[in-house]
């Protein structure tokens, strides 16, 4: 593994200029009932002033712990057990509580991950910003108030002066994140630690905020340590990259170089799994006639697409398996006092899905996409319009008819931690639909569970496991197995891969593609993530504020978007046009 670029001292060659931040052989452990569990194991990071460095890794890789260790923000049980954190040559791990307090805010700013939980709900926004300004000795008294307004305005809240007295819950997620960025940068620190600052936000908002953050840090000359799970985002925003895996750095160096020429097998995996606009639809290994599994095959892609298109044209104008006609869903919302307001969550939506194809419903939060899923699944009733499944109107189905419909249309939900009953073992979870519909004998059901576990690549022994013992990806595979138990025709996948790490996400998407080919399934794929859409969908409907603004084949939407909103969404995909090392 010894290349010319690889130095024997990890973290870089000693140059004349002193790095702003140099982490050397950092080790962090967490005290648990079973003793000290290492979370960060010998990490080296070097960051020069004015640069942006991204730490990339999946959940549990130790990236956040590393960042928190820098300014001693580790939770109670966490401890730095070895190594140094040199900031301008001073070892921060050796500082007294008082000295590190002087570093925080003033020299090193911090922008946390979740804007919903990082502002104190009982204090108003002005108070929380002013507090930071006063604590860092930037201004006192009346001046502090003026400075507060200035900080918030710079962070992109133009009406800051009027909103100082408002509380966090009166702000949107994006607005709160701007407040947090304002706080982090209020003292013009030399280094800003930004821990997944936009993961909880919609892509368009994410883009605005990151652009703004770029501008601010460039203007102030602030270095940024950027923590993210998103390789695309890292590629777009940082010139230096550190890839972490299981508490260790597996690869680090200049972003371009790593992305163009990933050396470590883990980095290679990450790079190849990162969805982007340049990706193509995943083809089933069998469909593509490849001998072994092609993860993101390109080879016979065009041929198969042509073949598919031809198939479709030759077939008589196929009837849609699911046909949604001008459906609306109106909620009544109680306003202050006795007035009620109408919320049109879904507003005149129509589309059709052909058998054996995947239609993606894309939109940001509040676009009504998940409501459409619930309407189709008959979990909520439509206000107007009609939903036909296999030629039959399904609105208002009752009793046996509804049960028959449920057998054929099954859901997989977003949250892998919420969609499985924590008290049910894997075996009981999968067998439940069979029991509910009275399918087979105990022995036959047992055999079916085995078959299903096999289909989602989980060992037979896993039937005794409980959800709390499984990873997110495994839970989602269980959810898929449960949905497949009754041999349905349609799966409604509501953000089914959104909560998963990119590699696991790729794995589940592959699984879904294989199953589609094997079982002839029809998918309605609901997501906020356009990059994923390209990997799996045949057709795309883009939703905004309860309406479909654009509907076309996937290639058309990506290569030739008609609507401004679609173009905006596409442009906002992080690292969208970045050509990952291939």
């Amino acid at each position: 593994m010894s290349q010319t670029l690889t130095d024997t001292t990890p973290g870089g060659i000693e140059y004349d200029e002193q790095p702003l931040l140099q982490i050397r052989n950092l080790e962090v452990g967490f005290q648990t009932q079973r003793g000290l569990v290492p979370a960060v194991r010998g990490v080296d990071i070097t960051l020069y002033s004015g640069q942006t460095l991204a730490i990339v890794g999946e959940s549990g890789s130790g990236k956040t712990t590393t960042a928190q260790a820098i300014i001693d923000l580790l939770p109670g049980a966490g401890k730095v057990t070895a190594g140094q954190v040199l900031f301008e040559g001073r070892d921060l791990t050796k500082l007294s509580a008082k000295d590190i307090q002087a570093v925080r805010g003033n020299l090193i700013g911090y922008v946390p991950q979740d804007p919903m939980s990082n502002l104190n709900p009982v204090w108003n926004i002005g108070f929380q910003v002013e507090e930071a300004i006063k604590a860092n000795g930037l201004a006192q008294g009346k001046e502090a108030r003026a400075r507060t307004i200035q900080v918030l305005q710079e962070a992109g809240l133009s009406d800051a002066a009027d909103r100082l007295k408002q509380y966090p819950h009166q702000f949107s997620g994006g607005m709160r994140q701007r407040v947090l960025i304002g706080i982090g940068l209020s003292a013009r620190p030399k280094l800003l630690i930004a821990d997944e600052p936009t993961s909880a936000l919609d892509v368009t908002v994410q883009r605005q905020i990151l652009d703004h953050l770029d501008t601010l840090t460039r203007d102030y000359g602030t270095s940024v340590l950027f923590i993210t799970h998103d390789l695309g985002l890292a590629a777009e925003r940082a010139e230096q990259l550190v890839v972490m895996y299981k508490g260790k750095v597996v690869e680090s160096g200049p972003s371009q170089e790593i992305l163009a020429n990933p050396q470590h097998p883990y980095t290679q995996r990450l790079v190849s799994a990162a969805p982007s606009l340049a990706s193509r639809r995943i083809q089933s290994a069998k469909h593509a006639n490849a001998g072994d599994a092609v993860i993101f095959g390109e080879g016979s892609l065009d041929d198969t697409l042509v073949a598919r298109a031809a198939d479709r044209e030759n077939a008589a104008p196929a009837k849609d398996l699911i046909s949604v006609q001008d459906i609306s869903k109106v909620y009544r919302i109680r306003k202050k006092g006795l007035r009620t307001d109408e919320l049109r969550a879904v507003d005149g939506v129509s589309f059709g899905i052909q058998k054996g194809t995947t239609t993606a419903l894309v939109g940001e939060s509040g676009s009504g996409k998940s409501t459409v899923a619930k309407l189709i699944l008959q979990l909520e009733s439509i206000t107007s319009g009609a939903i036909e499944f296999d030629g039959q109107d399904v609105a208002g189905l009752k009793g046996k008819e509804l049960l028959k419909f449920r057998r054929r249309v099954q859901p997989v939900f977003q949250d892998p931690y919420g969609s499985l009953d924590p008290q049910y073992s894997v075996g009981n979870t999968i067998v439940e639909p069979l029991l509910a519909h009275g399918v087979g004998t105990a022995k036959e059901r047992q055999a079916r569970v085995k078959e299903l576990l096999d289909q989602v690549s989980l060992p037979w022994a896993s039937r005794f496991r409980y959800p709390s013992e499984l990873s997110g990806g495994q839970r989602q595979r269980i959810a898929i197995a449960r949905a497949l138990a009754l041999k349905p025709d349609v799966l409604v996948l509501d953000e089914a891969v959104s909560a998963l790490d990119v590699l696991v996400q790729g794995q589940v998407l592959n699984l879904l593609t294989e199953l589609q080919t094997e079982l002839g399934l029809t998918y309605l794929f609901i997501t906020h993530d356009l990059a994923v859409v390209r990997l799996v969908a045949d057709n795309v409907c883009v939703m905004q504020k309860g309406r479909i603004v654009e509907a076309a084949s996937t290639d058309n939407v990506f290569d030739n978007p008609q609507q401004a909103y679609t173009q905006e969404l596409l442009a906002a995909i992080p690292g969208g046009n970045f050509q990952f090392g291939r």
Partner: protein, 309 residues
């Protein structure tokens, strides 16, 4: 806030009528002869029964009886005690004493409870925390009246620090010992609640962010941890008022204090049911009103409640 207040007041109305009706119903309509029950072991002269039935409107339908009762209640006629004194009179004399006792107890349980709970929460797992937990468990498991006897025995009789009975004017100084007894159980609950709440908030994201801003530890603890931990404690104080009332009956009984509780205690021991019921009806009303107050305080402490639609 205005909408919130209005809604809470509206919600309180059915609770108020329901609770008073329930008490009225229990006393006057349950199987068994209420008049006989009211008089306990001393049966009244024949003929008196009819007179009393008419006096208490027991010859009328239940709802009408209740409405007359509640109408009188609003006019300040809370009934009469066994000896014929109006309950409102006794109340007026006894209330200030009980108010003083309750205030002392509240101040003690709130301040000491929050302080001990805060320190224990900040040092979770250390010796102070462990001993605070043990002491609070002990205080909860020893009934108030046992503690009252013990305190009286140890601090009053054996050490002679306090008088064992309180004089009829009940000056503040003499109320300290009874107030400590009265506050003990609630103190223990507040310690436990504050401790859990502080320990929870210490791990909150916004506390980490506050630390990252460069605030001192002291400020983080007071402004962010403690301030947020007060919200559940305040809600607890409302519910706890009920046990404070029961505690007042027992404590005032043991220390022979002429407050509301002491009067109820004597009435219970002597079997004067009318007096007991009248006083407890008033207590329930106070409880309902105090909980309304606590709800408003809760909204004042937590903006998310205040602005909720």
């Amino acid at each position: 806030m205005l909408w919130y207040t209005g809604r809470r007041v509206l919600q309180m109305i059915p609770v108020f009528f329901g609770a008073t009706f329930l008490i009225y119903f229990m006393v006057f309509s349950l199987p068994g002869d209420p008049i006989a029950a009211l008089y306990g072991d001393r049966p009244p002269a024949p003929g008196v029964i009819e007179q009393i039935r008419a006096q208490y409107n027991l010859d009328k339908p239940l709802i009408q009886q209740y409405l007359i009762y509640i109408g009188n209640f609003f006019q300040g006629d809370l009934g009469t005690t066994y000896s014929g004194r109006p309950v409102s009179d006794v109340m007026a004399g006894a209330f200030p004493i009980t108010f003083r006792l309750a205030m002392l107890a509240l101040v003690f349980e709130a301040f000491a409870g929050i302080f001990v709970g805060l320190v224990a929460g900040l040092r979770k797992g250390k010796w102070f925390d462990a001993s605070a937990l043990v002491v609070s468990l002990l205080l909860i498991s020893v009934p108030t009246f046992v503690l009252g006897f013990l305190f009286r025995l140890v601090f009053g009789v054996q050490l002679g620090w306090f008088r064992t009975t309180v004089s009829s004017e009940a000056p503040w100084g003499e109320l300290i010992l009874p107030a400590l007894v009265l506050a003990s159980v609630s103190f223990a609950y507040i310690v436990r609640l504050t401790r859990a709440s502080v320990a929870d908030n210490l791990n909150a994201d916004f506390v980490r962010t506050a630390t990252a801003k460069g605030l001192s530890r002291r400020r983080v603890v007071t402004v962010h941890v403690l301030r947020n931990s007060l919200v559940p404690v305040v809600t607890f104080l409302g519910v706890d008022l009920g046990s404070l009332m029961v505690g007042a009956i027992i404590t005032e009984g043991i220390f022979n204090i002429n407050g509301v509780g002491g009067t109820v205690y004597k009435a219970i021991v002597l079997g004067e049911s009318t007096t007991v019921v009248s006083f407890i009806a008033v207590m329930v009303v106070i409880f309902v009103l105090a909980n309304l107050l606590v709800d408003l305080l809760y909204a004042a402490l937590d903006p998310r409640i205040r602005y909720a639609k």
